[in-house]
Amino acid sequence: MRRPKLRELKEAVRALFSPAYTNDFPRKPHKPFERFRGRPYFHEEDCTGCGACAQVCPAKAIEVNDEIKGASAKRKLTVHWDTCIFCGQCEANCLTSKGITLSQEFDFATTEKREDLKQTIEKEFVMCECCGEPIVPQDQYAWVVKKIGLFSFTNASLLLFYLRSVGLALKEKMTPGDKSAVINRSTRLKILCPRCRREAVLKS
C-alpha cells in the first residue's frame, strides 16, 4: 500500500513547487491560438454587400436590411455578436473571402445591453434607371465588373456602370420610382433591373 503512494507523492511535490496551473485571467490578458474563432468583423472596403454570409449563417446572426429612401437605397448589414456561434461559415463563404473575418476576440463582457453587441455597415445600391428599384449594391457591381473583366461589355448595365465609374459616361438624371416611364428602344442603354431589361428587349 505504501509503495504506490510514492508515485503520487512525486506528483504532489512537483505540483507544490511548480507555479499555479491556472492563469491570472482578467489581470493578465489571455492570448488565444492563432486560428481561434472569435468575434466576426465586417470590413467595409472588402465587403461587397452581397448578403451571402447572411444566407449561410446557421444562427441567423447576420441581418440584411434594405432601406429605400427616395432616389437612393442602402443595404444595412448587421452582425449580431450575441447570437453568433463563431462557426466561421460566413468567413468561409464570403464572396470576396475578406468581407467578414473572425477575429481572436473572445471576451464579450459588457455593461451595455446585449442588443448593442453588433456591427453594422452600409452599402449604397445601384438603382434601376427605369423603375427606380434597387438592383444590387454598387460594390457588388464593381466586384463583378472587375471579376469578369472584358466580358462586362456584353451587358449594357455592367458596361454603363463601368464607364460611369471611370468617368467616360455621363450620369443620368433619375426619376425615382417613376413606374410610368416609357420603355422603348433607347431605354436599353440604361442601367436596368432584370425586369425592365426584359421588357426593354422585348419591346425594341
Binding site: P4, E8, V56, P58, I85, C87, G88, Q89
Partner: protein, 400 residues
C-alpha cells in the same frame, strides 16, 4: 405504504449536460426503487434541423452536447454520406484520418472529465484537480487545430473544414507523450489504492445479462463484459486501418467502468499517434458534394459514452425532411434502475454518475419524508454523503 421516503434528485442545473430527474424510493439507507423522468432538456433539435440546410446542420448537432461535440456531427455526416454512398467512397483519405484524430481526442478529454468528476464524488478532490489539469492540454490542442475548445466546427458532408497543419503535428505528439505519464498516474492511483478499490468494487453492479436486457452501450456495456464497439463493428473514418483493441471488463461495477475508461485513454492515444504518422501529405480534405438525392441514411459513431445514432431522410431538396437522433446516455441512464436499486443512498450518486450523464452537479435535492414532512437539501449534501462514506472506509481500512 411500503416506501417510506422518496428522495428526488434533479431536475436540472445549468452544469448538467442532460437534465434528469430521479426519484429514489428509500427504505432506511437502502434504495428500493427508482423512477427516472427525462425530457427537461427538450430543445426541439430534430425539428430545428429540418429547417436548416445540409451544410448548416453539423453546427446545430454539435451543440447537442458540449462534450461529445464531434460525435454528433460525425454521425450526422455519416448518415448523409450513407444516402450518397459510403464514407470511404466519398471522403478523401486525409479527411478520414483527421476525422479519426478529432474523434479520439474528444474521447480522451471526455474520459478525463468523467474521471475527475468521479474522483470528486468519492471525495478524492486531488484526482479531480489532476484529471482536469491534464485535460487542459487536450483542449488547448483542440483550440489550436479547430479554433475552439468545444464545438469544433470540423465536420462537413464530404470531408472536414479545417486541415491539421504540419507544424501542429509535433505539438499534438508532444501532448500525447505528456499524457501517458498522467494516464499511468491515474491507473496506478485508482487500481492500487485500497480505499478507492473497496469504495468502487461491487457498487452499482450491472451484470452482463442486465446490460444486454437494458440495451446499454459504450463503456457502460463494455464494463459488464458486453463486447460492443461501433468502431470495430461498423468501422468509420480510418479506424479500421489502425491497430487498437476493444477494452473489456467483466464484473460491471463502478470500478470496472473506471478501469475501462482509463484503459481506453491508452487506446485513443495510440490511435491518434498512428493516425498522425499515416496522415497523407498534401492531400485534399474535402470532396465537393453538390446535391443530396432523396433517400434515407443512418450514421453510427462510438461516442465516449456509447453508440450515437443519426437517421436522415431527404426528399432531394436542400433540407432533410426527418432527422432522428439517439444519444448514448438515453440508453445508459435507464440501466440505473437496476444498478442503483439495492444499494445505499450514498452509493446512488456515484452509480448514477458512473454511466457518465454528468447529472451530479444537480443543485436542488429534496428529501420527502411522508407526505406532509418535506425537507429540501442542497445538492451538495448528496455528494457529501457520498464522500463521507469514503472517509469512513478510509478509517476502517487504516485501522485494520
Amino acid at each position: 405504504m411500503s416506501h417510506k421516503i422518496i428522495v428526488p434528485i434533479g431536475p436540472y442545473h445549468p452544469l448538467q449536460e442532460e437534465p434528469e430527474y430521479f426519484q429514489l424510493y428509500v427504505d432506511g439507507e437502502k434504495v428500493v426503487d427508482l423512477d427516472i423522468i427525462i425530457g427537461y432538456n427538450h430543445r426541439g433539435i430534430e425539428k430545428l434541423s429540418e429547417s436548416k440546410h445540409f451544410d448548416q446542420i453539423p453546427y446545430l448537432v454539435e451543440r447537442i452536447c458540449g462534450i461529445c461535440s464531434s460525435s454528433h456531427p460525425y454521425a450526422y455526416c455519416l448518415a448523409v454520406e450513407n444516402i450518397l454512398g459510403t464514407e470511404a467512397m466519398l471522403v478523401p483519405e486525409r479527411a478520414l484520418y483527421i476525422r479519426t484524430i478529432i474523434d479520439e481526442l474528444q474521447r480522451i478529454h471526455s474520459h478525463l472529465l468523467w474521471l475527475g468528476l468521479a474522483g470528486h464524488f468519492i471525495g478524492y478532490n486531488t484526482v479531480w484537480m489532476w484529471a482536469w489539469k491534464y485535460r487542459e492540454p487536450v483542449l488547448d490542442c483542440f483550440e489550436m487545430v479547430t479554433g475552439n475548445r468545444n464545438n469544433y466546427a470540423m465536420f462537413k458532408v464530404g470531408g472536414v473544414r479545417r486541415d491539421i497543419k504540419d507544424e501542429d503535428i509535433p505539438i499534438l505528439k508532444k501532448m500525447l507523450d505528456d499524457l501517458i505519464p498522467a494516464a499511468d498516474l491515474f491507473r496506478g492511483a485508482i487500481m492500487d489504492d485500497p480505499v478507492i478499490k473497496s469504495r468502487l468494487k461491487d457498487v452499482g453492479l450491472l451484470t452482463r445479462q442486465q446490460a444486454i436486457d437494458w440495451c446499454v452501450v459504450g463503456p457502460t456495456a463494455r464494463a459488464s463484459g458486453v463486447n460492443i464497439d461501433i468502431r470495430r463493428d461498423e468501422p468509420y473514418g480510418a479506424i479500421d486501418r489502425l491497430d487498437w483493441k476493444v477494452i473489456l471488463e467483466k464484473e460491471g461495477d463502478i470500478f470496472c467502468k473506471t478501469v475501462v475508461r482509463i484503459l481506453e485513454l491508452y487506446e485513443s492515444i495510440s490511435i491518434i499517434r498512428q493516425s498522425l504518422d499515416k496522415l497523407p501529405k498534401n492531400a485534399p480534405i474535402d470532396a465537393e458534394v453538390k446535391d443530396i438525392p432523396g433517400g434515407e441514411g443512418i450514421g453510427r459513431v462510438e461516442a465516449p459514452r456509447g453508440e450515437c445514432f443519426h437517421y436522415i431522410k431527404s426528399d432531394g431538396t436542400n433540407r432533410p425532411i426527418r432527422h432522428k437522433i439517439r444519444s448514448p446516455s438515453f440508453m445508459n441512464v435507464a440501466s440505473d434502475k437496476v444498478s442503483a436499486v439495492g444499494g445505499t443512498i450514498s452509493d446512488a450518486t456515484l452509480t448514477l454518475a458512473a454511466v457518465d450523464p454528468c447529472y451530479c452537479c444537480t443543485e436542488r435535492v429534496a428529501v420527502i419524508n411522508k407526505v406532509d414532512n418535506r425537507k429540501v437539501m442542497n445538492g451538495w449534501d448528496l455528494i457529501k454523503l457520498c464522500q463521507e462514506k469514503t472517509l469512513k472506509l478510509k478509517a476502517t481500512l487504516s485501522e485494520s
